[in-house]
């Protein structure tokens, strides 16, 4: 390809090449900057405590201590926190999938008085900062004796969330009406149309929803901070913060712990990359 270009130089070809060199330079520099915090975290997580704050900084951990991870696991009850986080995440994800798919179906396919107004109301709730309802909602759960349980962190997902409902509705709208009309002529009820005809059609959107719901719950910090007080009930994000308070000088263990907390999201990203990007795109472009 390049030999052809040099043999018969087209106007602009050289300039185009210069541009792409600049583009690569900027992208590589940006990637380096973007990766430094990651690499520094990983590097520190393998270092001997004596070398963590060495001046000049030690770039390559020497000695390389895999045992930091074992020690971090000893100091912080990772297994318990992981279990707690998984439980909250799984229940919330299930709740979101169930409620949002049904509600979005209602808004996309059923005709009932006030539908459009209610949908506008739903969209406008996205503008309401969570801080406005935070204190009353806290009071409600406390009054119902659900403080220090996972109920306040999981139950709301069964009522759907505006953003996910909006996202799924956009998807339902792309499914041709002929599909459910054909099913209805064959005598399918509304619920059969929902469950057997439309739900299989929006699987990619459900995957996107599942991934975003996982991410939100796994990463949530303020919720567990407000509602959970017993140390044994902590989530990973909350546990990490408590760990910092207790072992604020052991940065090698703290970085090992941070890496472990990040790991599931990295895995999730590489497995579900397509759905991540799809979700961002749907929300951003069609929103």
């Amino acid at each position: 390809m390049s030999s052809v270009v040099t043999a018969t130089p087209r106007p602009g070809a050289a300039r185009k090449k210069a541009w792409s060199t600049v583009a690569y330079a900027v992208l590589i520099a940006g990637s380096a900057v973007s990766l430094i915090p990651f690499l520094w975290m990983l590097g520190t997580s393998f270092k001997d405590p004596a070398n963590v704050f060495a001046d000049p900084p030690q770039v390559w951990p020497n000695p390389w201590l895999w045992s930091n991870y074992a020690k971090a696991f000893e100091k912080m009850p990772f297994a318990l926190y992981t279990l707690n986080t998984c439980r909250i995440t799984a229940i919330s994800m299930f709740g979101q999938l169930l409620s949002c798919s049904l509600v979005a179906f209602g808004f996309a396919r059923m005709r009932f008085p006030g539908r459009n107004v209610l949908f506008l109301v739903l969209l406008s709730t996205m503008m309401l900062p969570a801080q406005v309802t935070m204190i009353p909602v806290f009071k409600i759960w406390a009054t119902l004796h659900f403080y220090d349980t996972i109920v306040p962190l999981t139950a709301p997902s069964f009522f759907g969330s505006a953003f996910f409902i909006f996202l799924l509705r956009q998807y339902y709208m792309t499914v041709p009406h002929e599909m459910d009309e054909a099913a209805r002529i064959d005598g399918a009820s509304t619920w059969q149309v929902f469950y057997k005809v439309l739900l299989p059609q929006v699987k990619p959107a459900l995957a996107t929803l599942a991934i975003f719901s996982f991410m939100n719950n796994w990463n949530d910090f303020l919720g567990p901070l407000i509602y959970l007080s017993t140390p044994a009930k902590r989530t990973l994000a909350l546990g990490l913060w408590a760990f910092q308070g207790q072992y604020s000088t052991d940065w090698n263990y703290l970085m090992a712990a941070s890496a472990v907390v990040m790991l599931p999201l990295l895995l999730l990203f590489f497995i579900g990359q397509k759905y991540f990007i799809q979700g961002v795109v749907i929300s951003g472009i069609k929103g």
Partner: protein, 309 residues
Amino acid sequence: MAKKHASRLQRKEAIEGYLCIAPWLMGFVCLTVGPVIFSFIMSLTKWDMINPPSFVGASNYATIFADDDRFRQSLKITAIYAGCAVPLGMVCSLALAMLLNLKVKAMSGFRSIFYIPAILPGAAVAMVWTMVLRPQPSGIFNAILGSLARVLHLQFIPVPWLTSPDWVLKSFIIMSLWGVGGGMIIYLAGLQSVPTQLYEAAEIDGAGSWGKFRNVTLPMISPTLFFNLVMGLIGSFQVFTSSFIMTQGGPANASLFYVLYLYQKAFKYLQMGYACALAWILFAVILALTLFVMSTSRRWVYYEAELRR
């Protein structure tokens, strides 16, 4: 007869429709409308959540506006943060998206590297950045800047990133740029949906790179810009986790973000009524900003569909 049948079907559909949206409707009433009303009433009271609230009228609001230095400080630094982090983030994410859109090799690799920081748990990210931004010369940012300065024969004093009131907010703004990948993905999709004929037509008209960017790219992605601007503003007024973990609002309240202050009032000092009033002021600020941006959007956001109509 047929008409009666039809209306019965319609009624059945309506009932089933309401059943479908019932979960959201219940949640909306119990977890949104109710709490919103409750929150407003509580903002007019003195309430510690243990003893019954006592009605104090608008005095919470009066105190907030008349003599609450920490409120003023938190609103000020949050506004400065939003005013810097949002435009900077938009420029950076758009620039990255445009570079990736040049059909570069390993595009998806670059995309992953830039996007991943945006999806990581805020608590873990805060830990990592506390480490990266250590004020000592051995902190990695200071060490890198120091060696750069040595190469360029410049004098370098280690930057007290998180420990100086002059630097802490700048540090948070720099840190926010680590998350530009989310916006980048949206812009990338927007750029890819711009029809190539438009660029070809512009080229025929003699437009250069800048002309094509100014007259084709920008108008075509203006709805995306608008969306990111609104979401970015709302998000930057709600920063909490990073400041809670990294600085607790210090030093000298220089990183006391608004929601952190609200959290402290509510759950540290148990001034729930006061915190509700703070939440309502936050809502008013966000609403005013959003409406302002929307009111300007007619002048700079181009919707293709409008022209077709």
